[in-house]
Structure formats: structure tokens, C-alpha cells
């Protein structure tokens, strides 16, 4: 009886034009899409598409999409793009990212594909560090990829299934045991053609006692609309440490779905700082799986949205083992008609004793039309747990405004100073000094309304003066 109902429902499933487009793209191009796959990966795609055929994309009736309507995120005349982008020297200039005193190893992703001259598409360093295209890694290091790909994302939905079914490429990083990578790796992801929908899959594996600083930039270099559907899988083996900085500066027509799962082994440390400065719609989903004892994570974020932009942060921390600590801290300023969502989930398993789990979300709404939906979700089954959560939504502090103005500081500067002060706690967590100075400068310019889309990676376009004694120069802010 039950089966019949399910069958009936399945038959009745009416696809939206975009769902249909993805399904058709899959069946028309399957051989092409799966050309790099080992057999397991191929099966994974087929299964994901099968699930997608049943569920389609989520809509507002889904609990996790209640305050973010995915309906409008597909670009008009959408082109599902998964072709390899041929390397041209001239084009690669958009990936030049010069920041004073900041040396990074740049990893370019253009229109969803790993962008590098052919023979350099995957490289292995002397110390065993592998950096390259995921498609290439599947061929060259199939065992390593097989062991990790598609293993940890704890929650599936239409977007993640579409990613699994259709993503052809992305970034692969492998750091062997005991290797502390010295320079920062910087992934720059850019779309440069109109109306693209791209699926990107990134896989980052850190061996025991290893250390990596990774900066992940999503930039727009023009005003074209687009959809970036990204799934990141990150593995931190015992005692590994990852500092992950996300810098999102996209145009108002671009949607970014950034879905990250992290598997933390014992004593591993994770630090995420996500800066969402611009973007039509940005949704960051983070699934932090604490699968080893005494793991630590700081998951912090700052979002500054205006106009009709929308930001959605979904942070999920799973305390599956005892003695782990997690800190979620997200702060945001919303102007005009911008809207935001923060859902912070903390799950503590029955045997995960001595858990410390904290969560905080603070917001400033600058207008009556700006909006934030913030909600903590806590499920705790252990009894020896320290856990706290808090959310605040407010306007600019009037008392502080008066205090500053009484000292002669004009309204607009006082307002800026208070907004900047609000963001400071997140910015000062950036341990890479020149990067901190640059991001600080970008945040100030963003608050002033000066920061917009530049023709390169946004960090390149920021020019912080060299502050020597004073941390804020009001002539600039």
C-alpha cells in the first residue's frame, strides 16, 4: 500500500523548467560528464541523479529553506556549464592577486573548471603536497580520491545531489602527514560568462599533524548573473590544523551555494572565518563533524549586505565524540532591503561528554526594511556539557552614537566607527597579518559603500594604506 503511494507520487512529480534542464543535461551528457570517473564515482552520480529525480530542488516548504527562497536563484537563459576552459595566458591575468606583503599560492577556478596550463593541472611538491584539478586527481590518485569523495556530507538535498551528479571538476589538495605548509593557498573562483550554472567539487585532505592556511575567494569580475553550486569536502586527520578564510565578493545577480562538510579526527583544529561582503544570494552551509576526541573548531563569519541581497548561514556542528569544543560566532550588518538567515545547529551525541559548544549571532539592522531570521537549534543527549547560545538583533547603539558625537565626531563618521567596531572581533581573528589589513580595509570600504566588483580578485583591488600607529584612519573610512 505504502509503496503504491510512493509510486503514485513519483509519477506525479512535475519538474520545474530548471529541474528539467538539469535532468536532461545529465542524460544527454552523461558520458562526457563521467569521463574521468572511476566506477564508484560513476555510480555515485547515477544514484544522486536518481534521488534528485524523486526530490527535485528544495523549496520554501523545506524546514531548512524556510527563510531562503531558492526559486529565483536560477539565472535566466541558464547554461549548465561543465566544459573544460582552455588555458589562455591573457585570460589568466584576472587571477593575479597582489596583496602587499602577502604571498600566496594561487589556485584558479574559471567557470567551474580548474584553470591551469595542461601539464600543470596537478602537481606534487617535494614534500608530497598535491595541488591540482579534482578531475585529474581522480585519474592520477584514484585511491586517495575514492577514500574521501562523497563520504561525509551528512545531509542531502537537491542542490547537493545535483552537484554530486554533475560536478566534473574542482580543486584537490592533499597535505601528507607531518607537513606544515608554509605559504597560504588561495583558491580564486571566478565566472566570466553570463548566465552560467556551474557545479564545483573541492576536496581537501590534511594528514596527521599537518597544517594548512587556505583562503577561498569567490569573486565576480563583471555584472553577469550566475549560479555557483559548490560542495567542499574537508578531512582533518589527527592533530591536523586548518585555517580556512572565505572571502565572498560577488555581484548582485550571482548566487553562491557553498556547502562544506568537514571531518575532524581526534585533536584536530579547524578555524573558519567567512566574510560575505557582496552577493545577490549567498548560502553557506557548514557541517562540522567532530568524529574524534578533543577536536576544536572556531567557526566565525561576518556578513555585510545591502540592497536586496540575501545571506544565509547554516552552521551545523556535530559533537560525536567526547571532549570537543566548538565556537560559532556570526555577526552581520544589513542595510536597505537586505535579508539574512542564521541557523546554528549544535548536536551533542549521548556519549560526547565534556563537550563545550557555544554559539552567538549578532545583527545590526540599519533600516526598517532589512530583515534577519536567526534561530538556534540544540539537540543535546549527553549530560556533561557546557553549551550556550545567543542571538541579538538591534539598531545602532544610540548611547554610543551620542557619546561619539558629543566628542565632535559627525553622525556619518560616528555611525561608521560603531559599525566598524561591531565587525572588529571577527576581523582580528585573521592570523595572517597582511591579509587582516587587507580585509579590514575592504570591510571599511564596504561599510562606506565604496567596495564593489572589480575586474579581479577583490583582494587585489583593495589598497590599504600602511597604517603605522592608528588602526582606523577616519579620512578613509
Amino acid at each position: 500500500m505504502k509503496e503504491n503511494v510512493a509510486m503514485e507520487k513519483e509519477e506525479k512529480k512535475i519538474y520545474s523548467p530548471s529541474e528539467e534542464k538539469f535532468i536532461r543535461h545529465f542524460s544527454d551528457n552523461f558520458d562526457e560528464i563521467s569521463r574521468h570517473d572511476f566506477p564508484e564515482a560513476k555510480r555515485m552520480r547515477q544514484q544522486a541523479m536518481e534521488t534528485f529525480r524523486q526530490s527535485g530542488f528544495p523549496d520554501k516548504t523545506f524546514e531548512r529553506w524556510r527563510n531562503t527562497d531558492p526559486k529565483g536563484i536560477f539565472p535566466k537563459n541558464m547554461e549548465i556549464f561543465d566544459a573544460e576552459v582552455p588555458y589562455e595566458k591573457k585570460l589568466s591575468e584576472i587571477f593575479v592577486c597582489e596583496v602587499h606583503d602577502f604571498e600566496s599560492r594561487i589556485i584558479s577556478v574559471l567557470n567551474g573548471s580548474y584553470y591551469q596550463a595542461g601539464e600543470e593541472k596537478i602537481t606534487i611538491d617535494k614534500n608530497g603536497v598535491i595541488v591540482g584539478s579534482l578531475a585529474k586527481a581522480m585519474q592520477k590518485y584514484p585511491q586517495l580520491v575514492k577514500k574521501h569523495l562523497g563520504r561525509i556530507m551528512p545531509q542531502q538535498d537537491g542542490f547537493k545531489n545535483i552537484n554530486t551528479a554533475l560536478a566534473v571538476d574542482g580543486v584537490f589538495i592533499y597535505v601528507p602527514d607531518n607537513i606544515k605548509v608554509e605559504n597560504t593557498f588561495q583558491i580564486i573562483n571566478i565566472l566570466n560568462k553570463p548566465n552560467l550554472a556551474v557545479n564545483i567539487r573541492n576536496l581537501v585532505i590534511l594528514g596527521k599533524n599537518s597544517h594548512l592556511q587556505l583562503l577561498h575567494c569567490d569573486d565576480s569580475v563583471n555584472r553577469h548573473g550566475g549560479l555557483i553550486n559548490k560542495v567542499n569536502e574537508v578531512f582533518l586527520d589527527e592533530n591536523a590544523e586548518l585555517e580556512l578564510y572565505k572571502l565572498q565578493n560577488l555581484n548582485d545577480k550571482t548566487t553562491l551555494l557553498n556547502q562544506t562538510a568537514i571531518d575532524q579526527s581526534a585533536n584536530s583544529r579547524l578555524k573558519i572565518n567567512a566574510f560575505s561582503l557582496n552577493g545577490g544570494m549567498i548560502r553557506n552551509e557548514i557541517f562540522d563533524l567532530m568524529n574524534g576526541e578533543n577536536a576544536w573548531s572556531d567557526i566565525h563569519g561576518l556578513y555585510l549586505m545591502d540592497q536586496k541581497q540575501h545571506i544565509d548561514n547554516q552552521v551545523n556542528v556535530f559533537h560525536n565524540k567526547p571532549g570537543c569544543t566548538s565556537n560559532q560566532l556570526f555577526k552581520g550588518i544589513l542595510d536597505n532591503e537586505a535579508s539574512g538567515v542564521f541557523n546554528g545547529y549544535i548536536y551533542v551525541k549521548r556519549y560526547a561528554q565534556q563537550t563545550n559548544a557555544f554559539q552567538k549571532n549578532s545583527n545590526i539592522l540599519l533600516t526598517k526594511t532589512a530583515r534577519i531570521d536567526t534561530m538556534p537549534h540544540l539537540e543535546i543527549y549527553a549530560d556533561d556539557v557546557k553549551c550556550s547560545h545567543g542571538a541579538s538583533v538591534g539598531q545602532l547603539d544610540e548611547e554610543a552614537m551620542f557619546y561619539l558625537m558629543q566628542r565632535g565626531i559627525p553622525f556619518t563618521d560616528a555611525r561608521m566607527l560603531i559599525m566598524y567596531a561591531f565587525t572588529d572581533v571577527i576581523i582580528k581573528e585573521i592570523s595572517i597579518e597582511p591579509l587582516r589589513i587587507s580585509i579590514e580595509d575592504m570591510v571599511k570600504r564596504r561599510l562606506r559603500g565604496d567596495l564593489s566588483i572589480c575586474d579581479r580578485c577583490v583582494l587585489h583591488c583593495s589598497h590599504p594604506d600602511q597604517p603605522v600607529i592608528f588602526d582606523i584612519d577616519m579620512n578613509k573610512i
Binding site: 548611547e399 558629543q406 553622525f411 566607527l417 572588529d424 588602526d471
Partner: protein, 251 residues
């Protein structure tokens, strides 16, 4: 005359707090305003400094010959009006150095001057820190964050010294101070006192007036100044309390 307040009426949320107050201050003078709680002393300070929500329904505040009723708080500040807050605000994330430099440069810009040089600024900071005996490095400290009650009040006087106001209003600067901090604060004020500026000291107690000696003492009651006199009036109030004023006034 530096400040001349005529028939001032001030309401908060439609409730009248100040009910026809007259008060004037000349350069070089120190005035003390005393009186029981809830008589409108802090409201007067807020009205003079232009705080939002304090509505002047009648009367005029004339400062340096101009009616300033509609001036913004920052304009008043840049023209030389300073308020030492009863409850200084903590502003995490804004360093003291930054805050002071921003304030000084705002004033300089207002006066059509170029920004202060880093060297000159630091010199000034060091000199004024000494004045109120602030030992800590202010560079790395956020405005009032983690300051003790005494430090916060010293910090107010420090800011006053940095900004060199013409008219300084000290709103219960003595509350919450131990005797040593009180001396330091008073000493700071006395050193800043000149023929060019004036002080209005709002206080409950005569104690502060042992150190900052007023030229005039005024008693506020029910939104008005009901009694004015010399410094002896403060002693009289200390001795007799405010009851006799109330009785006299209500009779």
C-alpha cells in the same frame, strides 16, 4: 556671556522635566549645580549638549551669543561644549587612540584646520595621560572597555584635556570615586581651568567642591533653579540636607 539659558522647558517623551530654567555662565567661572535626585540636573546637561529625545519645548540656549537649540551634538562639541558623562559608554573595537585622534581631527576639520600630525598627537596624549595619572597604554585599549569606575571617570577628564573645551559640564563625575581618584580628577580640572573657559559641575555632594571650588552654587528642584549663592551654600546644603529647600519651595 558664554552660556545664557532663558526660560528653558525640556520634555522627554512628552513629559516636562525642566520647567522654566534660567542659568548663565561667564568665562573663567565655576558653577556647581546641586539638588536631590530626579530634579532635572542630568536633563539640563543633555539639553545643553543636544542629546536626541530631549525636546526643548520653550526657551533658548544661547552659547557664545548664538541660539544653539537646533545644533547637532557634534557641532556643539566642536564649538567647545564638553560633557563628562555620568556613565561613560564602552565602545569595544574602537581604540582610545583612534577615538581621540578622530575626535581631534573632526574638530580641526570643523575649524578649517589640517589634521593633527602623529607626533604632535602622541605628545599631547602623553602629557594629558600624566595629568590624570593614566598609566596604561591606551593604544591597545578600546574606549572604556574593561575600565574600572574610577578609570572611566579619569578617562572623561583625559578626553576633556585632549579636546580643550570652552564649556565643560561634569555630570556627577564624583560618583563612584574613591578619595584618591577624586583628588586626581579634581586636580585635572583645576589645572585645565583658565580665564578662557568655564565649568559646570553637577553633583549631589559637597565633597567634590572641597577640591573644585565653585564661584557659584545653584540648587535645582523640580526642573528649576530655586536657589543660588556662593560656595557657602554648598556647605549649608551638606549640613541641612535638601529638605529645607523642598519645604521652602513647596510652601
Amino acid at each position: 556671556m558664554l552660556l545664557n539659558i532663558k526660560n528653558l522647558h525640556v520634555s522627554i517623551d512628552g513629559k516636562e522635566i525642566i520647567k522654566g530654567l534660567n542659568f548663565s555662565v561667564n568665562q573663567g567661572e565655576v558653577h556647581a549645580i546641586m539638588g536631590p535626585n530626579g530634579t532635572g540636573k542630568s536633563t539640563l546637561a543633555a539639553a545643553i549638549t543636544g542629546r536626541e529625545g530631549y525636546e526643548i519645548t520653550q526657551g533658548e540656549i544661547i552659547y557664545k551669543g548664538q541660539v544653539i537649540n537646533n545644533w547637532s551634538p557634534d557641532k556643539r562639541a566642536n564649538e567647545g561644549v564638553f560633557l563628562s558623562f555620568q556613565y561613560p559608554i564602552e565602545i569595544p573595537g574602537v581604540s582610545m587612540t583612534n577615538f581621540m585622534r578622530t575626535a581631534i581631527n573632526a574638530k580641526r576639520e570643523y575649524l578649517g584646520k589640517t589634521p593633527i600630525s602623529a607626533k604632535e598627537f602622541l605628545k599631547k596624549m602623553e602629557a594629558n595621560k600624566k595629568l590624570v595619572q593614566i598609566q596604561s597604554k591606551l593604544t591597545n585599549r578600546s574606549v572604556n572597555e574593561g575600565f574600572s569606575g574610577g578609570e572611566k571617570k579619569k578617562n572623561e577628564i583625559f578626553q576633556m584635556a585632549m579636546l580643550e573645551p570652552k564649556l565643560a559640564i561634569l555630570d556627577e563625575t564624583d560618583s563612584g570615586l574613591d578619595i584618591d581618584a577624586l583628588r586626581i580628577v579634581a586636580n585635572g580640572v583645576n589645572q585645565l581651568k583658565s580665564e578662557e573657559n568655564a565649568f559646570v559641575v553637577i553633583t549631589h555632594y559637597q565633597r567634590l567642591l572641597d577640591y573644585i571650588v565653585p564661584d557659584f552654587v545653584h540648587v535645582m528642584y523640580d526642573g528649576r533653579i530655586v536657589k543660588s549663592g556662593g560656595k557657602k551654600l554648598a556647605l549649608e546644603l551638606e549640613e541641612k540636607g535638601y529638605e529645607w529647600i523642598k519645604e521652602q519651595f513647596e510652601a
